[in-house]
């Protein structure tokens, strides 16, 4: 599992967010705003939960690496994916 259980990608009024649902509440930030590139990566991560390479294809490798690091720093990503 790459994202902590209960984390959802939500689009509201054209803005993308990673939102911690009840299952993840208190363990990660409630909400993180995503840039357009990050949102694409997050979407790919959620859709292709076991395939890092496929997620990385959505952006450049550098972007993906930076994004994964950011998520890891926030506690959204488990170690196994990195």
């Amino acid at each position: 599992m790459k994202f902590i259980d209960g984390v959802k990608l939500v689009r509201v009024a054209g803005c993308d967010f990673l939102v911690a649902g009840k299952a993840a509440a208190g363990r990660v930030p409630d909400v993180v705003g995503l840039s357009a590139g990050s949102a694409r990566l997050a979407e790919a991560l959620l859709r292709l939960a076991d395939d890092k390479a496929a997620a990385a294809e959505t952006g450049t490798e550098d972007e993906a690496g930076e994004f994964f690091e950011k998520l890891r720093g926030l506690g959204y990503l488990t170690e196994e994916v990195l």
């Binding site: 939500v10 509201v12 009024a13 054209g14 803005c15 967010f17 939102v19 649902g21 009840k22 509440a25």
Partner: protein, 384 residues
């Protein structure tokens, strides 16, 4: 109306019509955003107007919308959990107000809400309360037939009532789980709820916007709505409220309104804009009991005695008199409890001040009663 208020109304109207961005001048944008916070409309305002004039406007916008996103995800999760639990336990419930209306908003997540409101059968009340306990809810207060519950992630208002009281019809063979209300009955329920809010505390822009959203979506049987409103004595009030909704948001009422009284609409508009999300004015319900009675021509002496010994319909709404509901013969006992409460929780000066209000605040009481009467709100009736 101030420039900021005008801009906020324009932003809401644009949002409803799918206009992605509302044009505004720098001067009024901050005021509009500030007002939107007080009315629980910050998400829509920030989405339509951006984050204001400051260098951190993008962050402010994301923060306002992100807060709505979290609230939405959590309340939908709570709601799904509730639905499943009711289904599994063979109980039904009817969702009303925000949890349903939000889904009709152009962006459901932007419709901020506090409590989820549901109606359950009067006979199932105990079973529902037991079920809620197993879901980690605890009762926080009770007013008449409505209990408020909360758990770690959400709060719930549960109304136990039969269709004759709530105006929401439930099929006799109702299956377990969620039962969506008839659209027209729900519309009337919203109008009655709005009237109740105005009567009790005041109301904010969002409650009118909810009605605009619902009428904009269509599917309301105008004739049936009018008939139901007539039965509740709310036909004139509905006309006034829908005139204001049309004035602000351009949405048409589902039935023909006899006459829009500009003076009344203007008074309602003024109070609503200044009231905040659920009303700030008259927040402590100070004049309600007197205003209820003042409209039937009662003088100060009669009002004074009604203050000392309120009628059953008022007493049963007091949180500490939940046991009175459905047992009017216990009214004298409730009066005794009330007197003891006054003796032990209030100073003699406070009690005397409250009891003598019909004399000392007569002008205010009459003004409030006259305002409610002009709006078409019968102050001595329950609407649901």
């Amino acid at each position: 109306m101030t420039a900021g208020e005008k801009l906020l109304i324009a932003a809401l109207s644009d949002h409803l019509r799918g206009v992605p961005k509302t044009e505004s001048g720098e001067a009024e944008i901050e005021e509009a955003l500030e007002i939107s916070r007080g009315h629980g409309l910050a998400g829509i305002a920030f989405a339509q107007l951006g984050g204001g004039n400051g260098p951190d406007r993008e962050r402010k916008k994301l923060s306002a919308i992100g807060t709505c996103a979290v609230g939405y995800v959590r309340r939908r999760e709570n709601y799904e959990e509730l639905k499943n639990a009711f289904e599994e336990n063979g109980l039904w419930f009817v969702p009303v107000k925000g949890i349903l209306i939000a889904e009709e908003y152009p962006e459901p997540a932007l419709r901020v809400m506090g409590d989820t409101d549901i109606i359950v059968g009067k006979n199932e009340r105990k079973a529902v309360e037991n079920l809620l306990k197993t879901l980690g809810y605890r009762e926080t207060s009770r007013t008449g037939d409505t209990g408020s519950f909360e758990n770690a992630t959400g709060s719930l208002d549960v109304r136990a009532g039969d269709p004759a009281e709530t105006g929401i019809t439930v099929p006799e063979d109702a299956s377990a789980g969620e039962i969506l209300p008839d659209r027209t009955e729900h519309f009337v329920y919203l109008i009655a709820h709005l009237a109740n809010h105005i009567k009790e505390t005041g109301c904010g822009i969002r409650q009118f916007f909810d009605i605009a959203v619902m009428t904009n979506s269509g599917g309301i049987d105008g004739e049936k709505a009018l008939e139901l409103l007539r039965k509740k004595g709310l036909e004139d009030f509905a006309g006034n409220a829908l005139c204001l909704v049309e004035k602000w948001f351009g949405t048409k009422a589902p039935f023909e309104i006899a006459k829009c009284d500009d003076e009344v609409i203007s008074a309602l508009e003024g109070e609503t804009l200044k009231s905040g999300v659920f009303g700030r004015k008259n927040e402590k319900n100070e004049l309600l009991f007197s205003a209820r009675n003042a409209t039937d021509g009662a003088g100060p002496v009669r009002l004074f005695f009604r203050r000392l010994f309120p009628p059953y319909r008022q007493m049963k709404m007091f949180g500490y008199c939940g046991w009175l509901n459905g047992r009017p013969w216990l009214l004298p006992a409730a009066w005794i409890v009330r007197i003891f409460r006054c003796v032990f929780t209030r100073t003699p000066g406070e009690s005397w001040k409250t009891a003598t209000e019909p004399f000392t605040r007569r002008t205010e009481i009459e003004e409030r009663a006259s305002y409610l009467k002009r709006l078409g709100i019968p102050v001595d009736r329950e609407f649901f």
